[in-house]
Assembly symmetry: C2
Homo-oligomer: 189 residues x 2
DNA sequence: AGCGAAACGGACGGGGGCGTCCGTTAGCTT
DNA sequence: AAGCTAACGGACGCCCCCGTCCGTTTCGCT
């Protein structure tokens, strides 16, 4: 069913679809998920109807737009797991995911908010969190991570990281970095 | 000039003013600062015009409504300073302020956001922060607080604490408590 | 080249919030 | 108790966003 939507036959439709996603990524990153659909349409140089035809709901658009970010999250966790030193891997996961969220306002919202209809997105999130849990287990065994760490602590940290608002993205990333360093100190045994 | 506004001559006006403030506190606490002015008027059982007559801008209303919360913040800091153990005082400030913010969605926003026109509000905030700085200095001298703590770390924590969203206020307060414990561990030498 | 279908986008109606006007109500004064 | 005036609130116009309809354009196939 989605085959028709994901692979339009006509070239202009195919181009528009990708172009919309590019613009949506940029707009969501700077303005957040609350950005109007119209704004995305405007910047993409298309009419609202075209936007809605490609992505009937904002949830669908966001899910597709953040697929790359989600993949980046998974990569970060995978690389953390691959690190021979589990504590170092654990720290890198916190640092890099915090930075990912700081760079992209919308992604934080998309990650935290669970859209009712974006089922596969929450599924991927849960799967990734499960991998983090595994990494945390190894880090605990190595003795560097506090034994009383629970996965909810990480969720808490991500939510809190989302609360770091700042005028410029640069400041936000810097603040987020400091924040990551802070919580890592808190998690260290 | 504000004398007329703060002390209306007619009894119904005087009552309405206080009633609006009560309702605004409740609405801001549960719905956040983004709550429509209309909602406050509705719950107060008055027309929008009456609300706007008493408080021409949302900033003015919020500033007045959160005066009590602001005072509570100051009390918390004062009591922290009064504690003979500066580290314990410092911890109590973090815990209690985080809880204050968790209980009141709007206050977080009002505290973090600097309204362009609510001059005296930011002034009180700065004054309070200065007191916290003093407390932090003593806590450092006692050796329990890390030497590299800076006041910006606390601001960062408050912003991050504001990012902790949750369905029920109870959950939010609980999460905020865990968060406070987390950052205290990070701040301990 | 010409046709059919797919894709486009201007325009519409609906909903909600905002701030204000002005006719009405009701408190205070003498 | 009667009038003056402050205070009230329903209703208005404005703007922004949403999602959709439908007439027009353009692509791709033959």
């Amino acid at each position: 069913m989605t085959g028709r939507l994901t692979h339009p036959t006509r070239s202009d439709a195919r181009y528009n679809r990708e172009h919309i996603l590019d613009v949506a990524r940029e707009v969501f990153a700077t303005e957040g998920l609350t950005a109007p659909m119209r704004e995305i349409a405007r910047r993409a140089g298309i009419g609202p109807a075209t936007l809605y035809r490609h992505f009937p709901t904002k949830e669908l658009l966001a899910t597709e737009a953040f697929a790359a970010q989600m993949a980046a999250c998974e990569t970060v966790v995978d690389e953390g797991l691959a690190d021979p030193d589990p504590w170092r891997g654990f720290c890198s996961v916190i640092e890099r995911i915090c930075e990912l969220h700081a760079r992209d306002r919308g992604f934080t919202a998309a990650f935290t908010t669970s859209f009712p209809h974006a089922v596969d997105f929450t599924a991927r999130r849960e799967r990734t969190l499960a991998l983090v849990a595994k990494l945390a287990g190894e880090a605990k065994k190595s003795g560097r991570l506090r034994q009383d760490f629970v996965l909810d602590d990480l969720v808490l940290v991500l939510m809190a990281n989302g609360g770091i608002h700042a005028a410029s993205p640069a400041t936000r990333v810097a603040a987020s970095r400091r924040f990551a360093a802070l919580v890592i100190r808190a998690f260290e045994a």
